[in-house]
Amino acid sequence: MINRRNTILTMIGAPLFAGCSKVFGNSNAHSGNVINFWGMGREGEVVGQLLPKFLIDNPDIQVKVQQLPWTAAHEKLLTAFAGNTLPDISQIGNSWLPEFVAIGAVDRLDGFLTNSNIKKNDYFEGIWDTNVIDGKLYGIPWYVDTRVLFYRKDTLRAAGFDTVPKDWDGFRNALRKIKANVGKDKYAIILPLNEYEPLFNLALSVDDPILKDNATLGNFDSKGYKETLTYYKSLFDEGLAPLTDASQISNIYDEFARGLFSFYITGPWNIGEFKRRLPEAMQDDWATTPMPIGPCGINYSSAGGSSLVVMKNSNKKPAVWKLIEFLSRPEVQKEFYDLTGDLPAQKSSWAMGKLDTDKYSNAFYEQLQHVKPAPPAPEWERIAQEMRIVTEQMLRGQFDVNGAVLEMNKRADRILEKRRWILKRGAIHE
């Protein structure tokens, strides 16, 4: 009886133990000719649909796509770097590039660029520049992204405006008028507290950079930034924007349709979402337009988007480059746009899809002529988070503008301490 029981245990146990012991293999092992590709959000979802042609042309290469959610992507990339589990190629937010260059995660691409179908001058300049660090190229823009204003034409018209006023003051005036029209429980604009991008975008249209001294010190106490923050704060103080974050709004599109707010600073992916999610009757009542002109006289916005990078520890770089070249073909870019609504990085693709004249994406085309990259410090993402947090505290009354900028500087300087030390040693990674 005992023996029988033992046999049964062994029968159940053995495969399980085998299962347990099989787990030592790393799922991102760089084996065979499989290219591991990490894509984020929607892009990660659809990239597989672009690949069949590439796979036919390159029968010796296989591509394994993994999708990361945007909210966790940065964290996951760093974790993968820390855990030696980076893929061969990844999509990467171009504001993150300095960081991954500094830690030596991504490889230089200059060498591949000669004799390639990828032509630098077909790209938006401000966007291409985000991939160049200390004069060296580390990524190829995949799609571009910047922030513009999405708005309701009907409420704007009701407030007495045919178009969105071009500068900050005019813009705020329009918001005031709208607010006066919509009443107590509704707002003119939404600036979600859990996003730093709207504030950052506004801060690009002033003369002072956010970080100074080779991005080793905070520059939040500059005149320009203070002016931005004061402006931003006034939008809340005057009740033009609700003190809420996006996760508290269960469905941003429903709320936009209901008129909870009329303006939303957001990116190109929302063109498709607005088309899909807003009620049919509303489709003629919304539009996009570039950011308002700031104190510096130009309406800058952020040079966002994603680039494709080759990881340094990949052992299949030529194959990976082939894949990048494939994904950068204008016709593939066009197809990519059709699938995702992500704006192509190459101007020739815009023309191909008549995007530059499309009534919604036209605002982006215009805006892309005036884009600035994020500060080139690897710590930028953290500093941006701190900036967001301090801003929220300011809006909730914990700081005034002066206190907030000093606090931001303090936090930024502390985060940048290591960078200052490393730069002084001259030991920053290639």
């Binding site: 760093l78 770097f81 830690i103 859990n194 269960s250 690897p378 909730r396 914990q398 490393i422 030991a427």
Partner: protein, 297 residues
């Protein structure tokens, strides 16, 4: 020299060795290493190139003390421990008393219902509560509106976010201590109650003079376990609020996670971990001291 007592000892070593080695390698070792790590500025640069590692002495600790976020996190954690902890225990005790009332029927069934939240997956139920706590469509505000209370922006209002998490934590955890209390109440000899009854004690007096003193040791034990457990609040804010609004749900452990595994500042994350450890230790020692003073074994 085989098989005999000599072998018993050998068998003993062989039997404990795997577990001991695992615990030393994967627990004690790392804990000690964390202590050393907390005196370095180990970060993503050091991960990339170990030459970027500096020994910084107490700097992680001093910076931590100078960091307002740490104080916020500490305040939030202590709020959770000292408000949420006692509330949880009170809920457990009340439920235990209700479930030891003679007049209550179907006790086993009710006990199972009360206990069910304990075994459910924290993340899943936190997600459920996130929706229940929704300002507009959540049932909690709907229920409150029936009582004439205006909607509360539970997870969006800095004043309400931590209380909301406490509500969730009480719901999730009270069943655990309840079972311990039920067992403790069950072990109180009935004679004591009968003696008190004969002495003319009212139900409330019986509770004060018989039940509570008899529960003393259990209450103390449970309070140590609960409070040290509550120091480790992490998943709830991670899932429900991501530390917001206005950092009002950032806890010490949440801060450690973000420092360590979001920003990869492993040095300062280790310092946070040790501060957390120190607080929990002090807490346990204080409660142990109270136990000694009260003569509880």
């Amino acid at each position: 020299m085989n098989k005999s007592p000599f072998n018993t000892a050998l068998a003993g070593y062989l039997f404990v060795a795997p577990a001991m080695i695992a615990i030393v390698v994967f627990f004690f070792g790392p804990a000690l290493a964390a202590f050393i790590l907390s005196f370095t500025d180990f970060d993503i640069y050091a991960l990339a190139d170990i030459n970027n590692l500096r020994f910084v002495g107490l700097k992680n600790y001093s910076e931590l003390l100078a960091n307002p976020l740490f104080w916020t996190a500490l305040k939030n954690t202590l709020f959770f421990v000292f408000v949420g902890g006692p509330l949880s225990m009170a809920a457990s005790l009340s439920a235990a008393i209700l479930l030891t009332e003679n007049s209550v029927k179907l006790k086993a069934f009710i006990r199972t219902i009360f206990f069910a939240p304990v075994v459910t997956t924290l993340v899943a139920t936190a997600v459920v509560f996130k929706y229940l706590l929704h300002t507009k469509y959540g049932f909690i505000n709907f229920g409150l509106s029936k009582l004439g209370i205006n909607p509360i922006d539970w997870l969006g209002d800095p004043h309400w976010a931590m209380p909301a998490i406490i509500v969730f934590a009480v719901w999730k955890n009270f069943g655990y201590n309840m079972v311990i209390f039920i067992a403790a109440i069950g072990s109180i000899p009935n004679d004591l109650y009968e003696a008190a009854k004969i002495d003319g004690a009212s139900p409330w007096q019986r509770f004060l003079n018989v039940t509570l003193p008899a529960l003393g040791p259990s209450i103390l034990l449970v309070s140590i376990m609960t409070m040290t457990g509550y120091f480790q609040l992490f998943a709830e804010p991670y899932v429900m609020t991501q530390g917001g609004p206005a950092e009002q749900t950032v806890t010490v452990l949440y801060m450690m996670y973000e420092q360590g595994f979001k920003w990869w500042n492993l040095g300062s994350a280790s310092a946070v971990a040790f501060v957390l450890f120190a607080m929990m230790l002090v807490m346990t020692l204080i409660q142990g001291q109270i136990a000694k003073l009260q003569g509880v074994k």
